[in-house]
Symmetry: C2
Subunit: 455 residues, 2 copies
């Protein structure tokens, strides 16, 4: 069977695959710092050359920012593979144990790791798919699927060119499904496929009381204090059980499917360790939900910032004219960002004491992404990943958002499958970033299985 | 009767008195700006020379900052007269209609005014007493009371030398009562004697939740947000009737004496105009109390500042480690600053949700000042002021604090009587400061009556 041969080739070729990854890791493609613009361009060209060498029709495609890399090859079911070749800055350099752009294999108590900026995010991850394709081509002379590669170089700097590029090249990029490799394992032994990502609504509130700042000696007691009004409003946003009190807020929040809940409950999520790592001990979300539900499948209302009055050293007895807060909502299911925003604003209005007015800044929002797990690629990927690690692959949620998945859906009408092999201790975005050599190795093998399974 | 002669002399001498005040107003004695140090010293010397010329034993007394002026003269009941000869800066100069240090008499729809920096605060006010003494000396050759003048030159820059100077010169400065002329009329026709000033406790609260800032995508929903905890605590500080919910907070808050309440109710305080001027319409204090009670005789709890999380432009989905607030309490009666602070801190502790800790900064406090209206000077002053203006002199409260009155009580064991002739539209601390010529004129006459009445 050709898959077995492909897998054996991957095993035999691991040192060379690692050497190729090191070539890419040596390019300091920091997208947010213009001093590295030439390096970012060099990384794009390196990828295009690599893919051309594998027989793909590859090109570096300019944008008004950093270039995209697009490549096509193979025949059969059509998948688009997405990754990003840019990396985070390395500051503070003093916290790195070695040059971030001089990768090496290191032995650790938990096994061999590839140490370098970009090892996990996302160069090591994207190379797993390239190496899987290489092995198929080398062993069989062809690919078991039609593959489009799509790499961007601005993921770590806000992806300003992504949406325009997708819109301008929709027909070229649209595939049966997108494979996005920029996520992690559930734990060391349990691979994961992310099947839902929370959406977000951002609000900035300004409550105005008196039209000028007042002296609390003259006006304290008789004048409305907008900070007090702000605390009253925000304190009422959650009831005593952690439930969000805004009317209609839970419209579109689905009950967690029993089979998914059972699977999550079976994951053995160590809530105490998760919270203990950041100095907490008790889950602070809605009563009656598990910790994983709180971060994956339940919506939230968070105050991300608050300010008003005098905030410097010492004291000033000001009774301020205004108080401000930034509030965000994480959305799930089919919660409608526009409706959440509208209902929140009306609710704030309704809570306001007399003599206070409120204004809101337009900061936008995005709905939750719920993956179409009925797409056949999910069963293929789940089986593939389960064969490479001790634990069965889990369908997990993501508390944050991965905008590219939403853009693929919105602009291309294309479902996404998110699978990646990062670990919690990979120090993503931090000094001494690493990628487990086993993640790289089994990641390549897993994608080789997926490619075979799709055929 | 000699008082009538003294008053006639004051009327006849008004132009010369105004000219003398103009000499003092021409000295730019801005205490907070070292560029004006020589001018501050010149103003002190000008006062000492003026008092020496009137037969007082006057001297300029150095401190580590700006000098004090002390002068003694006369025999009989002993009063200490306090004022300050320094002034506020004049920025922004562009908003002044003329040179702030080139005083002139201007006609306005409401009568003649003396326009200059320091006209009301406090050079015009302190000169009323000097001119009253001058008239008594000129008419009778003596003073009807023993008078000690005590002028400072640092009132507008925090009075750093005041307490040390009082402690070092307590025996010299102690009198039967202090007369403090740095306050205002109740309204255009009603003179006022301030008989109570609110105290203050300052608190700065820091609530800590997670030990580091968290990403709300990863932790939102499960992790305690300290801003949310802060809003819950502060929102509970007032109940729905505006009453402060901290245990024992009202210990030491006296009921307003019925005669004082009746007098205040009779003042015709225009609550709507007072609030309307700052864009408000409804009193926001405790239900069941009048507007004047809210600012004069009721204690308060105000949030003077709040901050935490991301407060810059745009949005950052941080779930912060800490939230901060500055809270102040205005105290009345015999409320104990130490007990208020202790009870507040315990109450905050008791409100905290699990996994939150709180720390407090030591910012200190001062009790309320309640004047001893049984001192005979009060009846004398009330009668004197009532004879100079259409309305009877009112005993009023002050919402803020005038620290020197507290220091006189604490350090010298001396009661104070606060009477001044400023108006709400005097633009104190602002461009185009003025003092009504009628305030200057009747202020001199009122103090002449007080001096006569004390004898």
């Amino acid at each position: 069977m050709s898959l077995d041969a492909v897998l054996s080739r991957i095993d035999a070729d691991l040192d060379q695959a690692t050497a190729r990854l090191f070539d890419l890791l040596r390019i300091p493609s920091i997208s947010t710092d213009p001093a590295y613009d030439a390096d970012v361009a060099r990384a794009a060209q390196w990828l295009a050359d690599e893919l051309t060498g594998l027989g793909f029709d590859a090109s570096v495609r300019p944008t008004t920012g950093h270039p995209m890399v697009v490549a096509h090859g193979g025949e059969g079911p059509h998948v688009l593979f997405y990754g990003h070749y840019d990396v985070q800055p390395v500051d503070p350099l003093s916290l790195w144990d070695r040059d971030p752009f001089d990768p090496e294999i290191q032995d650790t108590p938990k096994g061999k790791v590839i140490r370098a900026r970009g090892a996990v995010d996302d160069k090591g991850q994207l190379m797993t798919f390239i190496e899987a394709c290489r092995a198929w081509k080398a062993e069989t002379g062809t690919l078991p699927a039609r593959v489009t590669f799509f790499f961007e170089g601005e993921e770590e700097s806000g992806s300003p060119s992504l949406v325009p590029f997708l819109k301008a090249n929709a027909d070229e990029l649209r595939a049966d499904i997108a494979l996005i490799c920029d996520t992690g394992m559930f734990d060391d032994t349990t691979p994961a496929i992310c099947t839902q990502l929370r959406g977000m609504v951002r609000e900035e509130i300004t409550i105005t009381g008196p039209k000028v700042d007042l002296h609390s000696g003259m006006f304290g007691g008789i004048a409305m204090n907008p900070i007090r009004a702000m605390t009253k409003v925000l304190a009422a946003m959650h009831d005593d059980t952690g439930r969000i009190a805004i009317p209609h807020f839970y419209d579109g929040v689905p009950d967690l499917a029993p089979e998914l809940k059972a699977q999550w409950d079976g994951l053995g999520f160590d809530e105490a360790a998760f919270l203990g790592a950041v100095g907490l001990s008790l889950p602070a979300g809605e009563q009656g939900y598990s910790g994983l539900e709180m971060v994956w499948s339940r919506p939230t209302a968070e105050i991300n910032g608050i300010w008003g009055g005098y905030t410097g050293a010492g004291f000033k007895t000001v009774l301020p004219s205004q108080a401000h807060a930034k509030v965000s909502f994480r959305l799930v299911g089919t919660q409608d960002p526009a409706a959440i925003s509208r209902n929140f604003r009306q609710w704030v209005q309704d809570q306001l004491p007399p003599d206070c007015t409120v204004t809101f800044a337009e900061l936008g929002g995005d709905p939750a992404s719920v993956m179409n797990t009925d797409h056949p690629a999910f069963a293929v990927a789940r089986a593939a990943l389960s064969q490479e690690w001790p634990g069965d692959a889990a369908y997990v949620g993501g508390g944050g958002s991965i905008p590219v998945a939403g853009h693929f859906q919105t602009i291309l009408g294309m479902d996404s499958l998110l699978a990646g092999f990062g670990k919690d201790d990979d120090a993503m975005h931090s000094p001494n970033e690493k990628y487990d050599l086993s993640s790289f190795h089994h990641g390549i093998r897993a994608w080789a299985r997926v490619l075979g399974g799709l055929a």
